[in-house]
């Protein structure tokens, strides 16, 4: 985090005031600048000749369309909770409403708000030195009804070595395949560590009957070695990833593939680009249909 040499003095107790939130400032927002691209010739020159050459304008269009695809209703609507249920005899009584519950019920935050809050908090947490991390209280200590979510997220995988169980790196695909221990024969199953409660066990109770071809090297089956008990416990104990970390990546193999384009009009392969807006169409006929709309939209 760029902080211009200013170190924030430990001030982790952020009062959770309603109505505002810390938001991490992560530099220039690509989506915002894409929405209002500066229309200079210099921008054009930067377009790289990659399989995904998209201009800022196209990026903005894609972003707009993806947001539209995420909507619940086409128009903005608000459906209030029917009033008759609110407080007269129709209401189901669950006893006294506690302040925490009242706050939750009145909250009109959306998921995006919650996510922004969470991101801001985790930025604050990760910028603190690890010694400031609060100790996890023992179960007997009385705790507030509003636990600061800081205490739960102290062992995030980003603070290296802070958590007792470091999460395995996410991109170990190539490494793990290369570093795979030499495959061993299935007889080795007797050697798997059998502790009091093995997490994984090869089913060695039912040995298959011996066969004269058992020693034929061409027929030997190979299986990779199962991870040890400690490895498994470490894996099972790993804390959950955050919402953003769990989002599946765009793997490099897919990035190298050319993106498929489809005709805006009929849905066939988009082989022709409109000279005017960059939209894709399949052939002359669809281009004509497209240009009718394209020219009127931009006022020709």
């Amino acid at each position: 985090m760029l902080n211009f040499g200013v170190l924030e003095v430990a001030n982790s107790t952020v009062p959770a005031a309603p109505g505002w939130a810390y938001v991490p400032d992560v530099g220039a927002n690509a989506s915002m600048s894409a929405l209002q691209p500066s229309r200079s010739k210099r921008m054009r020159a930067q377009i790289a000749a990659s399989p995904h050459e998209t201009t800022a304008k196209q990026d903005a269009k894609i972003l707009r369309e993806l947001t539209a695809l995420d909507r619940e209703n086409h128009r903005d609507v608000s459906i209030p909770v029917p009033v008759r249920h609110r407080d007269n005899a129709g209401r189901v009584s669950h006893g006294k409403v506690t302040p925490a519950v009242r706050k939750i019920l009145q909250s009109q935050k959306t998921f995006a708000n919650h996510l922004a809050d969470y991101e801001a908090l985790s930025v604050i947490n990760s910028s603190l030195p690890p010694s400031n991390q609060p100790v996890v209280p023992s179960p007997a200590t009385p705790s507030t009804p509003h636990p600061p979510s800081t205490s739960k997220r102290t062992h995030r995988k980003k603070d290296a070595g802070a958590g007792p169980a470091p999460t395995p790196l996410r991109r170990v695909s190539a490494a793990s395949e290369a570093a795979t221990p030499a495959p061993i024969k299935s007889e080795i199953s007797h050697d798997t560590p059998m502790k009091d409660a093995p997490i994984l066990s090869l089913n060695s109770t039912a040995e298959p009957p011996p066969h004269p071809e058992d020693n034929n090297p061409l027929l030997v089956s190979w299986i990779p070695q199962l991870p040890t008990q400690e490895e498994m416990e470490k894996l099972l104990a790993a804390p959950p990833l955050s919402y953003n970390d769990a989002r599946g990546p765009w793997i490099p193999d897919d990035m190298r593939k050319p993106v498929r384009h489809f005709c805006d009009v009929c849905g066939y392969w988009g082989r022709v680009r409109c000279m005017r807006c960059g939209g894709r169409v399949c052939a002359l006929e669809c281009l004509g249909v497209h240009q009718e709309e394209c020219f009127t939209r931009y006022g020709a």
Binding site: K109, F111, L115, R171, D254
Partner: protein, 452 residues
């Protein structure tokens, strides 16, 4: 989970006689009761408040009384798979579970609760959930867990045509499964060992039923009718007509009209791909219907275009490449410019976070649940794509349960039959009152030092 690890129950009250299991999805919630003695089939309840064009408001299961779905709008308390708006959710739960004439009426003080959430939930939302369950509703005991986990308690091996498990033996979660949950908001990939998720390998693809429906809406609105205010209808079209293509390029060629002045013969029927969907008008016809495409049949749109009176005709949408390009987004999200890889690639990405020794087990036990698993051809395509990416020696098996929508619920019902196992995993109201919300959050939160 060995018996030695189970927490001995403190001198609390006996566990509640029956358990309410709620699989709280964004589109529908699956709810019903289970107890060691009996399990009823779950009710699939729309998890929404809806308003039609006469401004009638429907709550949850009232939606089945709705006769006119034209221009209906929805408010959903679950957003992106996570329970966000408790004001609306409480209204729906009250209507379904607690009111005088509720279809699944229960007294929360005498009922246990199993509630599912999507994996990787935000801690604040989890805390809100715990507080509402205990402080507002006051359930006797409560287990909050990621939805994929419950699937491990189903009889997985029976899905793979193995002999069913012995009902006399104690319930054990499946040893090793890779669970793909493709729902309304997103698709998640969760590797599970002994019913416990491997958190570091959970991956999410932000393509779900909602995005598919909205994409189909967009295509139909551009090409035929403006359906943007009728997403409910488009969802029915999607469920009736869409399929995952076995050969995308060939299907695409078959549905091409050909260049100008050179119409392809195959175009009209597109080798059986072209289908007509008869739209409901909510007077004579309340339910849409799919038929094979009949080129001679003049629908309302055609009659309008040729200037005839459109009185007698039906409203017909002809679907061609829309049928398979829409579910294709699950396998190629980059088709609409999303910067994510498809399901098969994400499965391999998830496995790459795990030791190589576990790969054969996971690849041979892939279960697909969620509404999108019902799309024709989905399993076949997924199996082929994963097989292509996986090491050649590995066997890849992909199956779905008989009803992928309620599979998670069924797993929860199985779990609720084992009272000891369930009570060792859940939290009682007493414990909540004594130790507080933070303690509950840690117990459910996969704390590394926590022993179940």
């Amino acid at each position: 989970m060995a018996p030695g690890h189970r927490r001995t129950k403190s001198s609390g009250p006996a566990p509640p006689a029956r358990t309410l299991i709620i699989d709280n999805g964004a589109y529908t919630m699956k709810a019903g009761f289970s107890s060691p003695a009996s399990t009823s089939a779950p009710s699939v309840i729309p998890n929404c408040m809806a308003r039609d064009r006469e401004r009638n408001v429907y709550i949850g299961s009232q939606l089945s009384k709705c006769k006119d779905f034209g221009e209906i709008v929805f408010r959903r308390p679950v957003e992106k798979g996570y329970l966000v708006n408790w004001e609306a959710e409480k209204e729906i739960w009250d209507h379904e579970f607690f009111e005088g004439k509720a279809p699944l009426r229960c007294d929360p003080r005498e009922t246990g609760l199993i509630l599912t959430e999507a994996p990787n939930a935000l801690p604040q939302l989890q805390t809100n959930c715990d507080q509402m369950v205990f402080e507002e509703f006051g359930f006797a005991s409560y287990l909050r867990c990621p939805a994929p986990v419950l699937n491990a308690y189903n009889d997985i091996q029976a899905m793979f045509k193995a002999p069913p498990r012995d009902p006399t033996k104690p319930l054990l979660p499946a040893e090793i499964i890779l669970l793909i949950d493709s729902g309304y908001s997103h698709t998640t990939i969760t590797p599970l060992i002994q019913g416990r998720p491997l958190q570091s390998a959970i991956r999410r693809l932000d393509v779900g039923g909602k995005l598919l429906t909205n994409h189909l809406t967009r295509l139909l609105s551009l090409r035929q009718y403006d359906m943007r205010n009728d997403t409910y209808l488009v969802n029915e079209i999607k469920e009736a007509c869409c399929y995952v293509s076995k050969d995308f390029k060939a299907d695409m060629e078959a549905t091409w009209k050909g260049p100008k002045g050179d119409r392809r013969e195959i175009y009209e029927t597109a080798g059986g791909i072209a289908k007509d969907y008869i739209l409901p008008d909510f007077h004579k016809r309340t339910k849409g219907e799919m038929r094979d495409h009949d080129p001679g049949l003049a629908g309302k749109l055609k009659q309008l275009q040729s200037g005839k009176a459109p009185e007698a005709a039906e409203d017909i949408l002809t679907l061609r490449n829309e049928r398979f390009t829409v579910p294709e987004l699950l396998f190629n999200p980059s088709d609409i410019g999303m910067r994510q890889s498809g399901i098969a690639e994400l499965v391999m990405d998830s496995l790459s976070a795990l030791p190589f020794g576990l790969w054969p087990g996971f690849l041979a036990n892939i279960i697909v649940v969620g509404g999108n698993a019902n799309i024709d051809g989905f399993l076949w395509r997924l199996q082929v794509e994963i097989q292509a990416l996986a090491p050649t020696e590995c066997i890849v098996r992909v199956v779905r349960p008989a009803d992928p929508v309620v599979s998670t619920w069924n797993g929860g019902a199985e779990l609720a039959k084992d009272v000891d196992l369930l009570s060792s995993m859940s939290v009682t109201k007493q414990e909540y009152d004594e130790y507080g919300a933070a303690w509950v959050a840690r117990k459910f939160g996969g704390d590394p030092n926590w022993k179940w």
